[in-house]
Symmetry: C2
Subunit: 427 residues, 2 copies
């Protein structure tokens, strides 16, 4: 835990402390490994995917696709409670994301029609992390906006456990959404497989979903050959609180963030210095009751920052600078500050809207921009699964009225082929 | 020019011919050069930018920012005709892009409010290619959607000519849009400068606009540190025509595409074999009258494909497979096919809606996805200059009703810190 008092710090210092930019050049080794995997999958297809399942996932597979029987059997391995809860989440996520559906439009003038179309992406692959972890909520968050965008084909790619199986909660959640095309592949090799296609896996137009460093680097390298959602970094939370905020809520929410991994970042921004000691005490108490102590100790030690400010205005400025993935505003009347928030992934207002509510159930998306990317990007939405081609239709008369203007601009730009294409149509 | 008869070709062959995927791994040398430039600009700032202006642009500069006087003087160097034409283009582009402006929305239930906000990106850099070329139209196409999104700060980065000046048409167009922050920097060094900031250039949140290979690679490397629009490849056109289409229009539009550079791609898809000879003859005639013969001969030779199909349905399938940046449908009643177009950047309907109309004047954007990226991305729009943060507000009662469901999902995902964050709020 580090305490930064803004009275003695410049906001640019903060920038340097928080955003370590040296990582841009540090991944050459992993890049080379990923490139080798990509080229192998491109060249040898399924054969290499089976080999990598053995090598990276310790799984002996003979086929890559999950069978109908495996999906049916998964229902026997899960609880009724889970089914009820995941259906509730599903309903809420559908309800929220339905509001993101857009319409085509056109603009008509004499002899002229322009318009913007809406077309779903044809085929999307959802990457779901696997192995020891299982994230059914990630399926909901990625598949529901794709479904609402009318994506025709959705497949799931997820690494198998060492018995060669996929977690039953993941299979059931996929089935609830009508997705039955699931492949037991993970890592960079999975991203390569859906980019180029193999004997048993059809190439996709876009790949979305979180993953480890290998997945992130494969996505970055292959972007352009396939569409991607974003390059996800470690998760972050920023909490704005004061001496009236329930200390145990603050600490619980910091820990919920910190348990993700050792790199998870936590910021508590407050004007009330006196809460620091209370936070420390409460951290010790709650930490004692949690399972992921090792991860938590490391993330708290390295990546928990308490930032002391003079007032709420400064707190908001710092939040806008950091552009956190998750922003909790736990002070009185939080909604009044919404207008001042410029950069954030998802914003949680008040003491009873913790991040975990958005992670699973409220209905907003949990795939959010990290590492300051909320300065320029948005939560995953229906928009990420559509394209908006434009169209133009001019009549002969309408076109003839603009030939002169087009010719002048083409001439200035020095493109006489463009000029010719306009003038040749002159009546 | 190559003729591909689909009767003897498989659609997958076509895929292999058109999309040469080997280029993924061929740029290591340029990547290393770009990385060196990036690191130098990050470390040494303005000093290196001045050095690179000398090295790459042959320009002796002492300051990087264009002065007010330079902008005023630019008006003396341009024609009145140009001013009228560019203002007409500006009006049309504003009119079209205004329709893309979105509203925030919220969804209220008992004790619950969820919503999607709209926030402009705070600071955007527009890269405008320079040197010998000058592209005032590119300023309009990039700056207008940014303005309509309410981006607070827009700066232009563009390489100087060897006298250390920026083209007057570029300066005047920027001034017409109220942009007075213009820097004489280009290439990878310009992208690095707006990513990290230097003594005289403030860091930006996103960089947009076309550029050469160095610019494209710098954007790809720095993506995540800064937002980018897309990685632009060579320009393409696909024309669907038949024996009734005016041959000279077809040829003029192919040439307008081919003159961009040697890598520009042109596809003519038709069911009427008999037009091939006429196209060849007309190519020779029109080519004789154009300036960029060298570029055109090479692009026609290497990258002009005539694809013979059985019917319009097959033509549309091939177009959807190629996902062209520009698609011209020059057959009778073109609008009826709009519903079948899945993948395209901008679609031009009929003989009097050539691509050049969209390049400059109709109002749609000319920054379009290339290299098949129209399968998953869209023309530049107001959407590219906003973020859509979500927010959640639950009352104490509303939250208590969902604690159980959240706990069940958190438990399945094995995250007891998440479980704790929900349960600690139980009444």
């Amino acid at each position: 835990m580090k305490v930064l008092d803004m009275k003695t710090k410049n906001i640019n210092d903060l920038n340097n402390i928080l955003f370590n930019e040296s990582d841009i050049i540090s991944n050459r080794k992993i890049e080379d490994d990923v490139m080798e995997i990509i080229n192998n999958v491109k060249q040898y297809g399924d054969e290499k995917l089976l080999e990598y399942a053995k090598k990276f996932d310790n799984a002996n597979l003979t086929t890559l696709k999950v069978t109908k029987l495996e999906i049916q059997n998964a229902y026997k391995l899960i609880t009724e409670d889970f089914l009820i809860a995941i259906k509730e989440a599903k309903e809420n996520i559908y309800e929220f994301h339905k509001k993101q559906i857009k319409s085509e439009w056109s603009l008509k003038k004499e002899g002229i029609e322009l318009g913007q179309l809406i077309r779903p992406i044809e085929r999307v692959a959802l990457y779901i992390p696997g192995g020891k972890a299982n994230y059914p909520s990630t399926i909901l968050m990625n598949a529901i906006p794709a479904k609402l965008a009318n994506v025709e084909e959705i497949c799931i790619i997820t690494p198998p456990n060492k018995d060669g199986n996929i977690n039953p909660y993941v299979l059931v959640t996929a089935d609830l959404l009508g997705i039955d095309e699931i492949y037991k592949i993970g890592g960079a090799q999975a991203v390569a497989a859906v980019t180029f296609g193999t004997e048993s896996i059809k190439k996709a137009d876009k790949v979305v979903g979180p993953g480890n460093k290998y997945v992130a680097i494969a996505k970055k390298i292959l972007y352009g050959k396939i569409g991607i959602d974003m390059i996800a970094g470690p998760s972050e939370i920023l909490i704005i609180a004061d001496k009236y905020t329930n200390i145990s809520f603050i600490v619980a929410d910091l820990l919920a963030q910190g348990e993700h991994d050792e790199l998870a970042k936590m910021f508590l921004v407050t004007k009330d210095k006196e809460i620091i000691e209370k936070i420390k005490l409460e951290l010790d108490i709650q930490l004692g009751e949690l399972n992921r102590k090792k991860i938590l100790k490391e993330s708290i030690n390295n990546n928990l920052y308490i930032i002391l400010v003079s007032d709420i205005k400064e707190a908001i400025s710092i939040s806008n600078l950091i552009a956190p993935e998750h922003l909790e505003i736990m002070i009185e009347n939080p909604k009044q500050y919404l207008k001042d928030i410029k950069n954030a992934g998802s914003i949680f207002l008040g003491e009873y809207s913790p991040e975990v509510l958005g992670d699973y159930l409220a209905g907003t998306n949990h795939t959010l921009p990290t590492s300051g990317n909320a300065r320029f990007s948005s939560p995953l939405s229906v928009d990420d699964f559509i394209k908006k081609p434009n169209y133009i239709e001019y009549s002969k008369d309408a076109f003839n009225k603009v030939i002169n203007s087009i010719s002048i601009i083409a001439d200035v730009e020095g493109l006489d082929g463009h000029l010719n294409s306009a003038k040749i149509r002159k009546l």
